[in-house]
Symmetry: C3
Subunit: 169 residues, 3 copies
Amino acid sequence: MAAPQAWREWADRDAIARVLIDYCDALDRMELERIAALFTPDAVVAYGPAEHLCTTGGGEAVAAALARLWRFTRTSHHLSNIAIDFDGPDRADARSYVIAWHERPDGSTATLYGQYADRLVRSGGRWLIASRTQFMNGSDEGFKVALHPLSRRPAPPGWTAPEGIETKR
Amino acid sequence: MAAPQAWREWADRDAIARVLIDYCDALDRMELERIAALFTPDAVVAYGPAEHLCTTGGGEAVAAALARLWRFTRTSHHLSNIAIDFDGPDRADARSYVIAWHERPDGSTATLYGQYADRLVRSGGRWLIASRTQFMNGSDEGFKVALHPLSRRPAPPGWTAPEGIETKR
Amino acid sequence: MAAPQAWREWADRDAIARVLIDYCDALDRMELERIAALFTPDAVVAYGPAEHLCTTGGGEAVAAALARLWRFTRTSHHLSNIAIDFDGPDRADARSYVIAWHERPDGSTATLYGQYADRLVRSGGRWLIASRTQFMNGSDEGFKVALHPLSRRPAPPGWTAPEGIETKR
């Protein structure tokens, strides 16, 4: 890796990770104007395949849609497994994992184990999310929103589980 | 960003993240002398607003207070969303998220979804925590310690939840 | 830290973290050939002390063994707390934390709060896992595999829990 390119990419990786982290913090605080500022003006977001889970109007529309999280009393979005790939000096794809915990006014909870697939672009010197698609690896029973399921390869025909793996401690 | 400053900050970000990570590992192993070494001699820590959740005596006092985690049989502290801001070559603020899982002798568990707000200083060539405040985004029912609640903006007056978001998969 | 060494290590830290992250993503998608490519040909993996939880045949054997995760319908491996130490230009130890969520066909779940202790080597310009040992900080009741328990120091003789810590919010 040539030094100047590496130099730029390290700063960019930090900056992109920070955008993803700020999204979580702003969402858990419901500071929606901070959410709006993290997306491009034409950003497209699809939390799931249903129309009411998609927005096409950029950061303002994303922030307006996320007002729906006020149906919860508390939330916590734990981001990890951040993987960033550049395809040019000003464009990158980022994948990350999230554990998203939500609590309702009745005390019931909904927990998502999911992923974000993001497209980021540098605009005016800042990295912004141009598109975001959310996937669901899994969830607890309390989570009821129909997100995109993560693609998982099925077992080959005839596969049977080995015995003796799950032995009580 | 000027190169020399960036150079220093990358090394410093790694070093600061490592301090926060080592705290978790040392705590889950109850190697309390490792905890003590991560704080300044005058460090102040407030896990919650109550007096018995605050310590003002530096790393030794923090380590002594955390002996209370022996009431659990096992713990696991998963740190993520690390965001670091410098305000000088030797001073930084760090925010991070933690999922803190605890198990009691009776098998019951307590899980916290929280944040750490840390002040770090470079001292003798090493980054140390000078102050730490813990916040609670949320928790399961088993978690009973009164931490600082995370500030969350309430819904505007008259806001009503949209219908049809939580549709069964 | 001398600049050239730091330069190399930053690129290497990113590359090593990416190997650990790719393992999680490949596992959750059950793209086992991607798993195989992350390990050396002589890699040794011990998820637990029992013989059936150990493999010694390199990446292909690891991938073959992990076919057992098809007994679950969905999984999600959330990696955090990544700490990397180099002991030479081409060798490193990595510790990381994982929350591993698994769902069975009957809807029951198993959640592990654990750690990976990995040995990585640079081979042919790529970082590969040469050995992996998994440890269990804890788990929920549904998790039944006997992993290595994390070492945790016991309370000193005569220690008693302080009163008043767990006060209802």
